[in-house]
């Protein structure tokens, strides 16, 4: 029987990757953000996941508007990162878990979700930077990958309620998986930020704190907003919170907050990091 060990939630700003590449994690601008990660590393050492199921959003690397999925599930034996337009150094490749991917896809389609399945898929910084943050200096990633991309780019976006339901269906699929794997869930992006329009630079620390406080104990409360409510409160790219909500849904047991960090700003973004451990409910 597989085990869902918990969820890691973190921002994925490209500048974080640049800071890692330059080795400036201890400089005053960056230290308060990177200081959030030693507790994550200690938790990972004890949780020992073998597989990461990652809810993220593609930023125009693998998907374009000719074929724009609402939800896409990777089912490849291997995933590569690639140039996203800025010629930055590439991230290490990722080993897939296609059998588990197909198990999840079978379960999703059987539960009235309509995913796009991807047997070949490039993954961008929004998946790779959280890996760099979780497993710095790894020669190879210590976990296999099942990537699940959520459309946060083109409206209509899936509703927060639908994203939570997607996560819960993924969680149910993982619970019914026969393998011995220890599975960690990642949700990447956010929190509040806005890159476009006259409101560019918008940040809402009160809303972010509300989200951090609510995600663990009452995700349904976050799912009662619609996507435009989130955009109003968290900025146009703050809607990447959808990835967090979906990831939270995949934690099917009793969750407990292990660590959190919140620091403003990283680039244009209110950066947050949180770990929720997932304890299977004890049978009565």
């Amino acid at each position: 029987m597989s085990t869902i060990v918990g969820g890691i939630f973190t921002s994925h700003v490209p500048a974080i990757g640049a800071a890692i590449a330059k080795g400036v994690q201890q400089e005053p601008y960056w230290k308060p953000f990177f200081d959030g990660f030693p507790p994550v590393h200690r938790w990972l050492e004890q949780a020992k996941p073998d597989v990461a199921v990652v809810f993220y959003n593609d930023h125009g690397l693998n998907f374009f508007l000719d074929k724009m999925p609402t939800f896409a599930v990777g089912a490849a034996p291997r995933y590569e990162n690639a140039d996203e337009g800025w010629g930055l150094p590439l991230f290490k490749p990722f080993e897939g878990a296609p059998d588990l991917s197909w198990h999840i896809i079978d379960h999703l389609v059987g539960s009235d979700f309509d995913p796009t399945t991807c047997q070949q898929m490039l993954v961008d910084h929004s998946l790779a930077i959280p890996f760099e943050l979780c497993w710095p200096e790894a020669a190879a990633w210590p976990v296999k990958l099942v990537p699940i991309a959520i459309n946060t780019v083109q409206h209509p976006l899936p509703s927060p309620r639908r994203c939570l339901a997607l996560g819960r269906a993924v969680g149910a699929a993982l619970e019914s998986w026969d393998g011995p794997e220890r599975i960690v869930i990642l949700g990447t992006g956010g929190l509040s930020h806005q890159l476009d329009g006259e409101r560019a630079g918008f940040i809402n620390t009160a809303y972010d704190r509300h989200c951090l406080d609510t995600l663990g104990p009452d995700p349904d409360a976050l799912a009662r907003q619609d996507a435009l409510d989130i955009i109003e409160q968290a900025g146009s790219q703050g809607v990447e919170l959808l990835n967090w909500i979906a990831a939270r849904g995949a934690l099917t047991g009793r969750v407990e907050e292990v660590t959190r960090n919140y620091h403003v700003p990283i680039s244009n973004t209110a950066a947050a990091t949180m770990v929720l451990a997932n304890e299977a409910p004890v049978p009565a």
Binding site: A15, H59, G60, L61, F64, L65, A82, D83, E84, G85, W86, G87, V153, Q154, H155, P156, Q194, L195, D196, G197, E198, R199, A200, G201, F202, I203, T205, A206, L228, I231, E232, G235, S236, Q237, Y262, H263, V264, P265, S267, N268, A270
Partner: protein, 129 residues
Amino acid sequence: MTSPAASGPAPRRPMSRTIPGTPIFDGAAATQGYALNAMCFSFNDPANREAFRVDEDAYCDRFALTPQQRRAVKDRDILGMIAAGGNIYYLAKLAGIFGLSVQDVGAAQTGMSVEAFKAALLAHQEETA
């Protein structure tokens, strides 16, 4: 890659809800902006970035940008690109060619200096104390 537009962009439908200063990239915007976004998507390939740098006009021709889109690109006018259907996730790749950081892009759209824009971001730090 060519634009699918047969006879110019459709007019943008009115949004049912607006959030001030916050573009919503919906179907109407996506229809209007397809050519511009397709060009920006092509910049994932460094050879295409170089081709744009060498002859910007010819490159815009290749993607059949609308006059509104061409003007906004020529003027490095981010709000103009968005008004012409550009989506920030794709425009970010073009901004990279222009050497603009996300702070530069933010400052340009808000009419602030880059220093003032950065200072406004940093000012939120107090709220997290």
